[in-house]
């Protein structure tokens, strides 16, 4: 801190700042996350648009019946969707606990949310590779590079999977911070921001599931 600041002491931070209605009350981090999510929404938008244009241009979907590509199973993935929605609920509960500064509950619900994320990722591995049981889609003949059907499926779902992975790691880091007591004093901004990302990932999945699996 320079001498000039020291001379002026308390005046270097304007006192009346917060009263100014022009500035709102959201923290910089929260605004940044919202803007990032808008931006990220447009990247999903670009990929989903590609899917839409390719599918609209094809005579049938999957486009080439002679490749014998498997149809996507809805039941299993509907389960995964439900899991992700549940993890959004626990996320809300974690945020609520943070508002009340209840460390035990924050940890419990954040851990459940992380578990939801891990569960979804395991489910996706099962779907792709048959990691736990039976054959995955790849072994059944849905090969990346095989057709526009396979290409769009793998690019969009794995791009979303990457988001789930990022979100799970992000929430895990938040969980550790919570264990260390960072959110004890009702300081819930960090959890709210992580929650924004997680709900976004969830919302996007509902769209992806609708477009790719259901329609």
């Amino acid at each position: 801190m320079s001498a000039t600041v020291a001379e002026h002491g308390e005046h270097h931070g304007p006192a009346e700042w917060s009263k100014d209605a022009h500035y709102g009350r959201a923290s910089a981090g929260k605004i940044a996350m919202w803007i990032f999510l808008l931006s990220d929404g447009f990247s999903f938008g670009g990929l989903l648009l590609a899917y839409g244009i390719l599918r609209a241009g094809a005579k049938a979907w999957p486009p080439d019946a002679s490749l014998h590509e498997p149809h996507l199973g809805i039941n299993f993935t509907a389960g995964l969707t439900f899991l992700l929605i549940c993890s959004s609920v626990t996320m809300v509960l974690a945020h609520d606990a943070a508002v009340h500064g209840d460390r035990k509950k924050i940890i419990r619900y954040l851990a459940l949310t992380v578990l939801g994320g891990v569960g979804f990722l395991c489910g996706q591995m099962q779907e792709y590779f048959g990691l736990f049981h039976g054959e995955g889609l790849i072994k059944e003949g849905l090969v990346f590079g095989g057709s526009a059907y396979a290409n769009t499926f793998f690019v969009i779902t794995s791009f979303h999977g990457l988001h789930v992975l990022t979100g799970t790691i992000y929430l895990f880091i938040t969980l550790i911070a919570a264990i260390r007591g960072k959110y004890d004093n009702g300081n819930h901004d960090g959890i709210e921001i992580a929650g924004l990302f997680w709900h976004f990932v969830d919302l996007v999945w509902i769209l992806v599931f609708t477009f790719i699996y259901l329609l």
Partner: protein
């Protein structure tokens, strides 16, 4: 929101290389951008050489880089040259100079913040950009030549079918990387302007420069991801054996669609031209007011016009695809929306003219460049009407007319606007004064030759010369245009030579320029009135409280009381009674009390 003061780093690497100081990052962007401007300019000279003296040895550059052909340009090299020229100028020259350098430099200083909202993110943004620059250079070293599908990177030319080898792949990855960098920067700019304005710096007291930068950041954040998704899919097509953009015999009915790329590209690509011009509009709007010693005419009108352009720019991309066989009704819709953009553009234009009307003009170098920008942008904008209208576009599509049009609006206007900004803020960046006489020579050479070059392209295109032809004169109907093209090339070489004056001036001024005063232009914005030249590490010891807008000039009462013709954004000014009756600006306490 208060920003804390952090101690200035002492070690070289933290102070100059991995710096989190927005002023240093601005200089990093500026230098990288200027280097790429020189590279892109050299490539332009090579294209012009080919059109002036086809298939003959290029002087100097040919001996250095094309020795295997005796210095002459071959068709494959030629396609690489114009592709790399376009991509480099747009993504690695104009973008970093205008947005990277002046966005970073001006936003915190002009709104009264101590740094960006996320200084580290700012640093990552530069180094991500640097990584993408490395990929661009790598593209040149590729064995099968640099990217060669045109700057628009259309498939099938840009797929492995049309452009095999690593050159095009590196560029697809470089576009992705620079997109990530732009988004990081954009989020930072938006949040900084929303959250870190000094107290009293309300939205309508912001300098127009900040409005331009802020709206550009919004467009960047929204539409660069769409380009990113296109670059991602193209990279997968090239590297992973997919075929999103490959159709026809190569893949069969399970294949993709080349038109898909055009949609994704232009959804981004049209906002991109406003991304490159909005900061210039803002900068020029401010500088015209500062050097006319008059308030910016209808400031709010300019702001709303820029907002209107920002919104409209998102819904007109189809006019790049008139000739792709789109439904006529859809084309008509795009045509109407496209022509609707002229309304806010003309509002801005008339505001600029009214700002300088009867002003006390100070024709210093930044003002000259700003006036030059108004001129070329006017010319470029008018020529755009013929391209936005489908019936005339059928004839002009893919001709040199298109090249002339977008170079006047995007290249010439951004170029002159960038130099206006550079001459204007140089004293604040480096604490030195640039040589004004050399600057004036640089301006007159630039504006005259840039008009001749792009004017020549307009004429050639209107006469039917197609763009991107390696040897236009093999077509008999273009043969008579050879002298026109040659004279246009001479103007281009003169334009290139003029830039050497700037290089000399820039380096000379940094090394041994006269020390600049704090406010050499006698203007009213915070970076000049409340920061030293160059500013201290945290910009403001005391964050000032702003009481008025950025363009308070030519008030006779102020002149009588203070002996100067402007009020800065902070000082109390005339007595409170006079202030209320003359300016009608509420005091900050009044706003706070609401």
């Amino acid at each position: 929101m208060e920003q804390h003061i952090h101690p200035e780093p002492k070690a070289f690497i933290w102070k100059y290389v991995f710096s989190i100081d927005h002023k240093v990052i601005a200089k990093q962007f500026l230098w990288t951008g200027l280097m790429f401007l020189a590279l892109g300019g050299t490539l332009a000279m090579m294209i012009r050489w080919q059109w002036a003296y086809p298939k003959t040895a290029v002087p100097v550059v040919g001996a250095l880089f094309l020795s295997h052909t005796g210095g002459a340009i071959t068709p494959p090299t030629y396609t690489s040259i114009f592709t790399m020229h376009g991509l480099i100028m747009i993504f690695w020259a104009i973008t970093p100079i205008l947005i990277g350098a002046f966005g970073n430099f001006c936003i915190p200083l002009m709104i009264g913040a101590r740094d960006m909202a996320f200084p580290k993110l700012n640093m990552y943004s530069y180094w991500m950009f640097f990584a993408s620059s490395v990929l661009v250079i790598l593209s040149f070293t590729s064995q099968l030549g640099a990217a060669s599908a045109g700057w628009t990177t259309y498939p099938p030319l840009s797929t492995n079918v049309g452009a095999p080898g690593w050159g095009q792949t590196y560029m697809a990855l470089a576009i992705f990387a620079t997109g990530v960098s732009t988004i990081m920067g954009g989020i930072n700019y938006i949040v900084t302007v929303i959250r870190y304005r000094a107290p009293g710096m309300t939205w309508f007291r912001l300098p127009l420069t900040i409005w331009g930068m802020w709206l550009t950041a919004i467009l960047n954040v929204l539409f660069v991801p769409v380009l990113g998704s296109a670059a991602l899919l193209l990279s997968l097509d090239r590297l992973a054996g997919t075929h999103f953009f490959v159709a026809g015999a190569a893949v069969g009915i399970q294949g993709g669609d080349p038109m898909l790329f055009q949609h994704l590209f232009w959804i981004f690509g049209h906002p991109e031209v406003y991304i490159l011009i909005l900061p210039v509009w803002g900068i020029v709007g401010d500088i015209l007011s500062f050097f006319s010693r008059k308030p910016a005419f209808w400031y709010k009108g300019s702001v709303f016009a820029m907002i209107a352009v920002t919104v409209l720019s998102a819904v007109v991309y189809g006019h790049h695809m008139y000739q792709t066989g789109m439904a006529p009704l859809l084309g008509l819709g795009f045509e109407m929306l496209t022509l609707a953009i002229s309304v806010p553009a003309v509002v801005l234009f008339v505001n600029w003219l009214n700002t300088i009307w009867k002003g006390s003009l100070r024709l210093e170098v930044p003002m000259l460049f700003a006036l030059g920008m108004v001129f070329v942008f006017g010319a470029g904008g008018l020529t755009g009407l013929l391209l936005g209208t489908i019936s005339t576009d059928i004839y002009l599509h893919d001709t040199m007319y298109v090249v002339g049009h977008f170079h006047l609006t995007m290249a010439a206007a951004s170029f002159l606007g960038s130099f206006s900004a550079l001459y204007f803020w140089f004293p604040k960046m480096y604490g030195k004064q640039m040589d004004q006489n050399l600057g004036k020579v640089h301006f007159w050479g630039s504006v005259v030759f840039i008009t001749l070059v792009f004017g020549g392209q307009l004429v050639a295109g209107y006469s039917g010369q197609h763009r991107r032809l390696f040897e236009p004169y093999q077509y008999t109907y273009i043969r008579h245009l050879a002298p026109l093209n040659r004279w246009t090339s001479f103007a281009a070489f003169a334009l290139g030579a003029t830039q050497l004056i700037f290089v000399v001036n820039f380096i000379k001024s940094i090394l041994m320029g006269k020390k600049a005063e704090q406010n050499p232009w006698h203007v009213s914005t915070l970076e000049w009135t409340h920061c030293a030249s160059p500013p201290i590490y945290h910009n403001f010891d005391i964050v000032p409280t702003v009481v008025r807008g950025a363009h308070e000039y030519a008030d006779p009462a102020v002149k009588k009381k203070f002996g100067r013709d402007y009020l800065d954004q902070v000082e109390p000014g005339l007595s409170a009674v006079d202030e209320d009756s003359s300016a009608g600006m509420p005091e900050p306490e009044a706003i706070g009390a609401e």
